[in-house]
């Protein structure tokens, strides 16, 4: 079984690399990961290294500050490198929560039928119908500003799509004969779910997961931009928040506005490209194009 899986994994990888957009996504992501790990070590950002005169505030790029300075006279380039970490960290952890909750809800509501399972489905349908951004704004405004809350809010609002995909697949597997036979042999429900159902369901959500990461990173940036991020940690979203509220746009301080945005676009684009290619590979109906 493991050999077959290995072969399949190689196949997926080959197809991913063979697809122009997929390869672009992989290279982009690898580049961003390397930069976010090494960047802040080579060019550490000191939040207390503020400007001492008005001329050092939102200063245009120069040899000393290759991307100029921010509203407190700090180096935008170094800030940018550090910001990559928070954006990626929040995106990945929020996705982990989202997938965990989505998988759990999908498995339980798909495997069992009855009141509990019905309720879970109703809750999924309820949350899927709500507008995402207004909901995370309200939750973040009510519960306060910290990285933990940002992660929780994004993770706990983005799971319904995962739950739905998993549920519909579990329902179709549940009725198959081999499950019936395993049950007749006396296997416990938890064993059936973990060993016989989960492995058949997971490949379906790979693409979805990668796209959820992209969405979570965008959500974090938007929340932070609207002033609902952790005020002390540096992320691309908080940089843009401070740039906006201190009037960088009106002053034409493009060096403070453009780089963090490009950072967000490149990370989200990398995950989007990978996600769409994965979807094409995993979903044979679309494979032709």
């Amino acid at each position: 079984m493991s050999k077959m899986k290995e072969k399949k994994r190689n196949e997926v990888w080959e197809q991913m690399w063979g697809d122009g957009l997929g390869r672009a996504g992989i290279i982009l992501l690898a580049l961003i990961l390397v930069i976010s790990i090494i960047g802040p070590i080579l060019f550490p950002f000191d939040a207390k290294d503020v400007g001492t005169s008005a001329a050092q505030i939102m200063e245009a790029p120069s040899a000393e500050h290759i991307l100029g300075t921010d509203e407190m006279g700090r180096d935008v380039f170094r800030e940018l490198l550090l910001g990559a970490r928070v954006s990626l960290f929040v995106g990945l952890t929020a996705t982990a929560i989202s997938i965990l909750v989505g998988a759990l809800v999908g498995l339980i509501s798909g495997f069992y039928s009855g009141f509990m399972s019905n309720m879970l489905m109703r809750i999924t349908d309820f949350f899927i119908a709500l507008p995402v951004l207004p909901m995370i704004i309200v939750l973040a405004a009510v519960f306060g500003q910290s990285i933990t809350i940002t992660i929780a809010v994004i993770g706990l609002t983005s799971w319904p799509s995962t739950a739905r995909i998993i549920r519909s697949q579990v329902v179709s597997i549940r009725e198959r004969q081999y499950i019936e036979r395993i049950r007749a042999l006396g296997a416990k429900d938890s064993r059936i779910i973990m060993i016989h159902i989960l492995p058949n369901v997971l490949p379906l959500i790979y693409a979805n997961t990668v796209l959820v990461i992209a969405g979570s990173i965008l959500s974090e940036a938007t929340l932070a931009f609207l002033g609902l991020g952790d005020p002390v940690s540096v992320s691309w979203g908080t940089m843009l928040h401070y740039a906006f509220v201190t009037g960088a746009a009106g002053r034409g301080a493009w060096w403070y506005l453009v780089p963090p945005g490009i950072g967000i676009v490149l990370v989200v684009l990398a995950f989007t490209l990978i996600g769409h290619t994965l979807d094409k590979i995993m979903n044979p109906r679309l494979r032709e194009y």
Binding site: A129, L133, I137, F143, L240, A243, T272
Partner: protein, 324 residues
């Protein structure tokens, strides 16, 4: 189940969902940390009499279940309480802002649907061509753009450096108008940049869904039949392919509404456009909970209603949904 019965069932579901949203709101804004009286008084130094008076005024002295029923009654009759910052009824503040947002979203949505579906058709008809590939990559880049940042960039480029379009508000402050058409022109000018920002970011969804469903449909046997009958590609597209591709596009509309409401919050914030989105942003900054609560309720209500309408549309035009 007949179509009518199905629609009735969906309507019941809509009402239940709206009720659930109201309850969700009630719970959410009452479990939040902090004391509403402190928040309202904006100070810790407040006498016991004042506290009692505020409690009575806002019905906070009633038991929780009573507060819940009063809350339900108020929402149904369109009363959302009093804003903490404007000290005015929330409903009248929202009424002032609503028209601007509706105008912005209506203009943007019409353009997004036309351009999104149009480019989707072009790409699907020339699948694999350079044009198709360019469109696909462009749509993924558009999809990855944060809406607020797109707006900020446009302000820097077109507002500050090129000075082509105004960067904030809906009317130029202090401008004297001679005729109504001048007012409309000024309003339209202020709409250009927020609308374009929304189009760039939110068009991708329509493009991608149109393209992929059309590509699917175009390979069906009946399209070959249509070709065999001697129909021109154009006629075959409009008579046979598009009606079949419409269903997934209609389903997308519901998702789109949720997306574009989020987009409106962002562009209105960036362009200081006095609509519902900007109202919500200001309410976040000032922690004006009654406004936040009402804006969220309205946005959620619009989204679930859009879902309902797209469901109904789907039922009406899909000939297969006769008996479910």
């Amino acid at each position: 189940m007949s179509k009518l019965k199905y629609i009735g069932k969906k309507l019941m579901q809509l009402i239940l969902t709206l009720y659930a949203i109201i309850t969700f709101n009630f719970i959410l804004f009452r479990i939040m940390p902090g004391d509403p009286i402190r928040l309202l008084a904006r100070s810790g130094a407040i006498s016991a009499e004042s506290i009692a008076r505020i409690k009575e005024l806002f019905g906070l002295d009633q038991p929780m279940w009573m507060q819940y029923f009063i809350y339900l009654k108020n929402i149904v009759t369109g009363q959302f309480g009093i804003s903490m910052t404007y000290r005015q009824p929330v409903s009248s503040i929202i009424a002032e802002r609503m028209a601007n947002t509706v105008t912005l979203l209506a203009v943007a949505t019409v353009m997004i649907i036309i351009i999104g579906i149009g480019t989707g058709i072009v790409a699907a008809m020339r699948r694999g061509s350079r044009l198709d590939k360019t469109f696909v990559v462009a749509s993924m880049v558009g999809w990855s753009l944060p809406t607020f940042w797109t707006g900020l960039l446009m302000i820097v480029v077109f507002g500050v450096f090129l000075k082509i379009f105004p960067i904030s508000g809906i009317l130029t402050p202090g401008m004297q108008y001679a005729t109504y058409s001048q007012v409309i022109m000024d309003y339209a000018k202020h709409l250009v940049m927020p609308t374009i920002a929304l189009i760039i970011v939110d068009m991708a969804q329509f493009f991608l869904i149109t393209r992929s469903t059309l590509v699917d449909v175009l390979t069906e046997d009946y399209m070959l039949t249509a070709k065999g009958k001697g129909l021109s590609p154009k006629k075959a597209l409009w008579r046979h392919a598009m009606p079949n591709a419409m269903l997934p596009i209609i389903t997308t509309l519901a998702l789109y509404v949720s997306l574009v409401i989020g987009g409106a919050i962002q562009v209105e914030t960036v362009f200081s456009f006095p609509g519902m989105g900007k109202l919500m942003y200001d309410a976040v900054l000032k922690r004006d909970y009654p406004i936040l609560e009402a804006s969220f309720f309205l946005m959620a209500a619009v989204t679930v209603t859009a879902n309902f309408i797209s469901d109904i549309f789907y039922t009406i035009i899909d000939p297969r949904v006769k008996d479910i």
